[in-house]
Symmetry: C2
Subunit: 211 residues, 2 copies
DNA sequence: ATCAATTACTACACGCGTGTAGCAATTGTG
DNA sequence: CACAATTGCTACACGCGTGTAGTAATTGAT
């Protein structure tokens, strides 16, 4: 019996984890890292923790990534792509500018659904503005800034076409983004806190008031 | 010469830091911790880092606090009190309800000034939603929730008295808090990004539009 | 079945933060 | 000036994460 080799209890060699090609292992490890981040935050990610999560020893991780920074960078690339893809699907390419209010309401609806349906993607972005590796912060910050610029442009256009009050588009863009992120966080932390319809209804009410 | 005691170079004893009574040392250490948090974030706080910042060895810190958790808890008590005090001063005790709009604008003005004039107090609160010790997160979360409730009440009252659109007060309260925190963060990270007047003017414009 | 390539594991050397025991300097009081 | 109380320092033992060298198991192709 290999489980009782002799009289002496030898350290008992660890059973081999399933042998897996590098490309597959890489994705597995990224998944493990993501799970850790979602479950316990950025502070909890370490080569060691990732290896454990994946049921593997550290050298296996080092066989695929140079170090934690490298791994997190790769993970960010992947998650950033996923998030931007969802955003692109949510923001319609050819917006119907004849009814801006409906457009806004529909978009809000789609955004809420996106966050609700893929929390693994959005939590590390929305629930982590700080206390994370500078590496991560910088990336998210950059995407946020670019989004703010786009939104500012849309607002200038929208306010002109729609009539209603003329406001400082840039300031309002920041405010809107802040609100989006805040409710995104609530949706992640406590999905049942607000019904989707309740949020959408408030937007509708606000828009109706702004004439 | 004590600097060259003999032929052998003995390890060179560290010069004694100024001897200071415990009560004073306690505050000094809290100040050091706060400086570290403000400069490098919650991740950077450690007994070791605090001792270095204060120009003292670790056992000195352990002479005053049991451990990092204890120290951070005490720091939180102090900073929470300071923040709540400033908030109380900013929110007038006997609001003049006859002109709600002016009240809102004035309050916004005072809030902006408060953050600008005491960044050491506000940065650890506003720039740190996550990636910080659970201990800290929970405390800030609780204060935020209580503030949201108060704000919801004020909004219900305000909307009724003022006329204008009737909106979901709770949702709007969350949105307003999100915007406040977001601009607070911008003020801390980049104080010159938006002039105070520009922000206040946008609020004024929004209120005028909401009739 | 054998063998070479691939993949995984063990074991070690480091660095850094924690927490503590024992010793040393300082200070103010008689 | 002496001395006791107070405050600070050195030195150590741990725990945990990093990164690597050397070795062992697995697997697919011959």
């Amino acid at each position: 019996m290999s489980s009782a080799p002799g009289g002496q209890s030898k350290p008992a060699r660890r059973p081999y984890a399933a042998r897996v090609p590098v490309d597959v292992r890489r994705e597995q490890l990224l998944d493990s890292a993501l799970r850790i981040i979602v479950a316990d935050g950025y502070d909890a990610v370490s080569i060691d923790a990732i290896a454990k999560e994946a049921g593997v020893t550290r050298p296996v991780v080092y066989g695929v990534f140079d170090n934690l920074r490298d791994l997190l960078g790769t993970l960010l690339d992947r998650q950033q792509a996923r998030a931007l893809k969802q955003l692109a699907e949510v923001l319609p390419p050819a917006p119907d500018l004849s009814d801006p209010d409906a457009l806004v309401v529909d978009t809000a609806h789609r955004m809420i659904d996106a966050v609700r349906s893929d929390p693994m993607t959005w939590q590390p972005i929305l629930l982590a503005p700080h206390g994370m590796p500078e590496q991560v912060r910088a990336r998210i910050e950059a995407d946020r800034a670019s989004f703010t610029i786009q939104l500012t442009g849309l607002l200038e256009l929208g306010m002109a076409m729609r009539g209603g009050p003329v406001l400082d588009a840039e300031v309002v863009a920041h405010a809107i983004l802040a609100v989006l992120e805040h409710f995104g966080r609530i949706l992640l932390a406590d999905p049942d806190r607000f019904e989707t319809d309740r949020l959408v209804a408030t937007i509708t009410g606000l828009l109706r008031a702004l004439r």
